[in-house]
């Protein structure tokens, strides 16, 4: 249930929001962030794989105080008629009410749908998983890879936390081929995409925004790159704009931070 807010208290909220925004814009203009990070510095990322052994792959990610859990299930299914020689990838996100007072239970809203689709795009477009190797019987049976992302604690930047969790979980996922009388095998992986999201506050782009930064941001930009430094997916969000210069500074930072995460967090 949404908390009922009277007109008066809502305008008080508006005032606090305005003050917060002014303050964050001011310190950004002076070159600093509310938690002391550099503009291109992400929060500490901790990945804990095999958190749910019953799943075919799983990863718990803490990105600062944001915490998500990603589970991979791999099951047999029918291929899509237009791709008979290809496995299937499907991605879903649940903004659990336990993660924030602003999340409600019920079917996925547009935020959850956008989150799942942006994470999916990075993985799909980078061709991370070799879906062609997931065919059991051409045109009839293929492996379906389900990525389910549960948001447990929300302190901003779900896109990067979920992307990282999904990638980490896929890297360790095993296809349960013993169920059909073959041997289990490691999910075939070609590439490792890393997504880096930025919030625009005033005229500054901040990598990996926390909740306070996210709340006052005018625009959001996510850039996913692969290990070659190619861009594989992008998404601009929120009702503000970005300049071309900001776009390319984000691309450069994403390439740089992506390399760092691949090496330092995933050990790849």
């Amino acid at each position: 249930m949404k908390r009922k807010v009277s007109a008066v208290s809502k305008s008080a909220d508006e005032i606090v929001y305005g003050l917060k925004r002014e303050y964050l814009e001011k310190i950004c203009a002076e070159g600093s962030r509310i938690d002391g990070r550099k503009f291109d510095e992400i929060r500490t990322a901790v990945v804990n794989t095999n958190f749910v052994p019953r799943a075919e792959g799983s990863a718990e990610v803490r990105l600062g105080d944001t915490r998500v859990l990603v589970g991979i299930k791999i099951e047999q299914g029918e291929p899509f008629p237009d791709t008979p020689n290809s496995g299937i990838l499907t991605t879903n996100a649940e903004l659990l009410p336990m993660a924030s007072p602003t999340f409600e239970s019920g079917p996925p809203g547009e935020d959850a749908i956008e989150l799942a689709r942006v994470v999916d795009r990075g993985i799909r477009e980078s061709k991370m998983i070799d879906l062609d190797k997931l065919v059991i019987k051409e045109g009839e049976k293929v492996w379906v890879v389900f990525i389910d992302m549960h948001i447990l604690d929300y302190d901003g930047n779900l896109i990067d936390a979920c992307s990282l969790g999904a990638v980490a979980a896929l890297l360790e996922a095993k296809v349960p081929a013993s169920k059909i009388g073959a041997e289990d095998f490691q999910l075939p992986i070609n590439h490792i995409p890393i997504n880096v999201t930025f919030a625009k506050i005033g005229n500054t782009l901040l990598a990996d925004p926390n909740l306070e930064e996210e709340e006052v941001a005018s625009a959001r930009l996510s850039v996913a790159t692969n290990e070659n430094g190619d861009v594989v997916a992008m998404q601009k969000g929120l009702g503000g704009s970005i300049t071309k210069e900001e776009l390319f500074s984000a691309v450069d930072t994403s390439i740089k931070v992506g390399k760092d995460i691949r090496k330092r967090v995933l050990g790849k």
């Binding site: 601009k236 009702g239 970005i242 390319f248």
Partner: protein
């Protein structure tokens, strides 16, 4: 119908550097915009862009409903992108799917960048985008027509919003992908700007591009958007001229 295959099976650019529909790498498909095509809506527009046919209606600003969606300091923009069941080769199940929800969201956010929403607190501006026939690039066609429909509805804006997609086919950066190029190409980059300030208000990308290719694509899209913006203005002017001459006619009677 095209036989399914992998990228390498299909040649999208021929020896002369021309694309399957005969266009050059930086050439747009034909675009036609019409303003004020619906009677009941507060504003409306129709766009034909290559094989795309998209109709847009704007209602509002009107009281936002349900009430908890109201924002006390500004109008909300409620964009709804919808594909007709018959708009694509294989019938699309009616109603919003996840793709439509996402596209509606990014279109609404792009329009929000241009509309002076703070002038209409507690209201919603509803933008209904119906894709009657789809041929790749529907979200940008819809957004381009939507901003014209907003002007037609008399809603104050800092400028029109206009866009164009670019992408990569056969390893080459090209403007305005058609259906086959979108299906078998290597990257797609829908982008929209506010021409006056050159701000980017919608940006999505999927596929694979190097940084240099991306820069080339953004530049192509930007140039095309500036040109399409002129078409938007011509369309608005055409409606204004038509209503002026109608008035002239009444006066002389």
């Amino acid at each position: 119908m095209i036989e399914l295959g992998t990228q390498s099976d299909i040649k999208l650019i021929n020896e002369d550097g021309l694309r399957i529909d005969g266009r050059k790498f930086n050439e747009l498909r034909p675009i036609r915009i019409e303003v004020g095509v619906l009677n009941r809506a507060d504003g409306s527009a129709y766009i034909e862009w290559g094989g795309n046919k998209v109709l847009v209606a704007v209602y509002g600003p009107r009281e936002a409903f349900p009430k908890h969606t109201q924002n006390p300091s500004r109008a909300i923009i409620n964009a709804r992108y919808n594909m007709a069941a018959f708009s694509v080769d294989e019938r699309k199940r009616p109603g919003p799917d996840r793709r439509a929800v996402e596209i509606s969201k990014v279109i609404g956010e792009a329009l929000e960048c241009a509309v002076f929403t703070e002038q209409f607190p507690r209201t919603s501006i509803d933008v209904y985008i119906e894709v009657l026939q789809a041929d790749a690039g529907t979200r940008i066609a819809g957004l381009t027509a939507a901003s014209v429909a907003l002007v037609d509805a008399g809603i104050p804006m800092k400028d029109l919003v206009v866009g164009c997609a670019s992408g990569k086919i056969d390893g080459k950066v090209v403007l305005d992908l058609n259906k086959e190029e979108d299906n078998f190409g290597q990257a797609d980059l829908p982008m929209a700007i506010i021409p006056r300030t050159q701000e980017i208000v919608l940006l999505q990308m999927d596929g694979n591009m190097t940084r240099d290719e991306l820069e080339e694509a953004v530049e192509l899209s930007k140039k095309a958007a500036m040109y399409i913006s002129d078409l938007q203005k011509e369309a608005l002017l055409a409606k204004y001229k038509a209503s002026e001459s109608e008035k002239e006619g009444e006066r002389s009677e």
